[in-house]
């Protein structure tokens, strides 16, 4: 079941209010996204931990409604 980019963004912002987010719908099918997320919350964490935090923010949707979300996480420069 596809998910809208704005719904992904909303969930991420709920957990990381300061986040800079850019979401691309890679195939235009609402099912394959790439997201760039930059937030202070990631400071000092390795990539696995950063992605785990994003998956938590998505409340179990990743791997279910959301089939593919390529993540690129970063801390503010």
């Amino acid at each position: 079941m596809p998910m809208l980019a704005k719904d992904i963004e909303k969930l991420i912002l709920e957990s990381f209010p300061d986040a800079k987010i850019k979401i691309d719908d890679l195939r235009g099918d609402g099912d394959h996204y790439a997201a760039y997320i930059e937030t202070k919350a990631f400071i000092g964490l390795n990539r696995v931990k950063q992605h785990q935090m994003v998956y938590k923010a998505l409340k179990g949707k990743m791997g279910n409604e959301l089939h593919a979300l390529a993540l690129n996480t970063s801390v503010p420069k």
């Binding site: 696995v48 279910n64 390529a70």
Partner: protein, 111 residues
């Protein structure tokens, strides 16, 4: 997760220095993300073992809980969870993967 599944997963990770939980087999991956990680490991000439989560639903769901990671593939190197497809790809591109394999004394036979 049942204890028996946890034991099975722990056993796979303990006994195989480079362990990939994937969909399908290295010769016949059943998913593009699994195929991508197999491609990178083959490109680096790293010996690895894999398990096909599509053949065992307990492992498929168990490994997600075990790693606190919602997707397959998942790569473990010497018992450490390294990441899924995005992370492996990124680490391959920026050289971190080779660095990690070197640090962990995993043989690389890049052709």
């Amino acid at each position: 997760m049942e204890d028996s599944i946890k034991v099975k997963i722990t056993d796979l990770i303990d006994k195989n220095e480079v362990m990939l939980f994937m969909k399908g087999t290295p010769n016949m991956p059943q998913c593009g993300f699994s195929a991508a990680v197999v491609g990178i490991l083959n490109h680096l000439g790293v010996e690895f073992n894999s398990t096909n989560v599509l053949q065992d639903d307990n492992i498929r769901e168990g490994i997600k809980e075990f790693s606190d990671w919602p997707t397959i593939p998942q790569l473990y190197v010497k018992k450490e969870f390294v990441g899924g497809c995005d992370i492996i790809r990124e680490m391959h591109e920026n050289g971190e993967l080779i660095q990690l394999l070197n640090e962990k004394n995993i043989e690389i036979n890049q052709s």
